[in-house]
């Protein structure tokens, strides 16, 4: 099966300015740049390529119909979070899992004005995550991409809940420091 190579991500924030002006060509470029990311988040969380395809479509249609939902910052990080939240909705509404296992997320901010955000890319994040000890990286990735609560992480790993929470916090703090360092270099 032929696969598309990883794409170069165009500046989503700039393209979104044109999408707001109903520029279909800009939307197409936005889609070309970011659909693998949205599909990837959905596939990791739902574990089903057809559902991931549907979710990708719904996320981009939402971007087209409500372009003001994103105003500034790192478009890739924003749309990945949107995809994650939609995937949580799908898991919940289709009863694909026990409701108690599925977390609820806070808001998707329309403005991501943190300086880390605007300049970060996937390689920065991969390197920053790989700098974390496995005992911290693993619960963070399970929490983000597994679509499960901290209690479920504790249950699946057999590690006490208090330890999981502390490892998540310690790991996220280190991740933040690593990302700050990556963009200031």
């Amino acid at each position: 099966m032929r696969r598309e190579a990883r794409g170069v991500m165009e500046d989503g924030a700039r393209l979104m300015e044109r999408v707001r002006a109903r520029d279909g060509a800009a939307f197409e470029r936005l889609y070309d740049s970011y659909h693998r990311l949205v599909f990837g988040v959905a596939l990791r969380m739902l574990g089903d390529a057809t559902m991931a395809e549907d979710l990708t479509q719904s996320v981009f249609l939402k971007v087209w119909s409500s372009p003001d939902a994103f105003r500034d910052g790192n478009f890739g990080a924003w749309i990945a979070r949107v995809a994650r939240n939609r995937a949580l909705d799908v898991l919940r509404s289709r009863s694909l899992r026990d409701e108690s296992e599925i977390p609820t997320d806070l808001a998707e901010p329309s403005v991501l004005d943190d300086t880390v955000f605007t300049r970060i890319n996937s390689e920065h994040v991969r390197r920053a995550l790989s700098a974390l000890p496995d005992e911290q990286r693993s619960p963070i990735e399970m929490g983000f991409f597994g679509g499960i609560t901290h209690e479920e992480i504790a249950k699946r790993t057999g590690i006490p809940l208090g330890t999981i929470k502390t490892r998540i916090r310690t790991g996220l703090r280190k991740l933040r420091v690593e990302l700050d360092g990556a963009v200031s270099r």
């Binding site: 099966m1 032929r2 696969r3 598309e4 190579a5 002006a21 109903r22 279909g24 060509a25 197409e28 889609y31 070309d32 659909h35 693998r36 990311l37 599909f39 990837g40 988040v41 596939l43 390529a49 395809e53 479509q57 981009f60 249609l61 087209w64 790192n74 990080a77 924003w78 939240n85 909705d89 799908v90 599925i102 977390p103 997320d105 806070l106 901010p109 329309s110 991501l112 943190d114 955000f117 970060i120 890319n121 996937s122 920065h124 994040v125 991969r126 920053a128 995550l129 963070i140 990735e141 929490g143 983000f144 609560t149 209690e151 208090g162 929470k165 998540i168 996220l172 933040r176 990302l179």
Partner: protein
């Protein structure tokens, strides 16, 4: 900061909330706490950008057939609105392809679904599919409403007014009470919010509510914040009153 072990435990929960891995009931507790604790809000603001960045590593190569099909579907869906700017040839191609695909589906259905049992199965599947789509849409709407509220509560440009036991938070046309450690009321009593419209001489009754077991409540007032001069809170009989019957817990002007 109070330095208590309970507060360290809350900071751990704030980190899990930033990751987006708390169940709804614990998220509500953290949300109430964040509305009134500057230290925890700072921790959340520090960690949330780091967790948002995690999504960037998810990009997956997609097989070319699937990728082409996905793109066709998305562009076809926006074609009516985008057509004028995209140029007629590209949009026309998309629409033509979609029409051909649709015609193929119709032909396949007509030619293969020949017995009543199959038709019945198909109708059932369509009903089930429609019900599932409705449930997905309803769940998304509920979650979007909740996220909108949370976005208002944590927005940097929200106006925050300190009141006894918490804050009044106004952002755009929305106004909220985010309250903690409210005294437990005797049976038959509830808290009631009041609004004073700009230029009005008397307050108007707003929502009634009962805090949770730890005395916390986040309540959105069903009023346009931009038209209000002040809000207030009082204790009233269950069911609410048309005019305050007790001394207000607070009266807060909205500047």
């Amino acid at each position: 900061m109070n330095g208590a072990p309970e507060h360290d435990a809350m900071l751990d929960l704030v980190a899990v909330a930033a990751l987006g891995s708390l169940p709804a009931d614990e998220l509500r507790i953290v949300t109430l706490h964040l509305a009134t604790c500057a230290e925890c809000r700072a921790e959340y603001d520090l960690l949330r950008p780091a967790t948002d960045a995690i999504g960037l590593i998810a990009e997956e190569p997609i097989d070319t057939l699937r990728s082409a099909r996905m793109k066709k579907r998305v562009l076809a869906a926006i074609a009516p609105a985008a057509g004028a700017r995209r140029g007629s040839s590209a949009a026309g191609l998309v629409w033509s392809a979609s029409l051909v695909a649709a015609a193929a589906v119709v032909f396949a259905l007509v030619s293969t679904v020949q017995d009543i049992r199959l038709r019945s199965d198909l109708a059932n599947a369509q009903r089930t599919s429609a019900q599932l789509q409705t449930r997905v849409a309803e769940t998304q709407q509920t979650n979007e409403n909740e996220r909108d509220m949370l976005a208002d509560l944590f927005a940097g440009n929200a106006k925050r007014y300190a009141v006894p036991n918490g804050e009044v938070i106004a952002r755009g046309s929305h106004v909220y009470f985010a309250l903690r450690t409210l005294p437990t009321l005797p049976k038959g009593k509830v808290y009631q919010a009041w609004t004073l419209a700009k230029g009005a001489k008397a307050v108007a009754p707003s929502v009634t509510f009962t805090p949770n077991g730890s005395g916390s409540a986040v309540v959105e007032l069903p009023a346009n914040a931009t038209s209000l001069a002040a809000v207030a809170l009082s204790v009233e009989p269950e069911g609410g009153s048309k005019a305050p019957t007790s001394k207000p817990t607070f009266i807060q002007p909205l500047s």
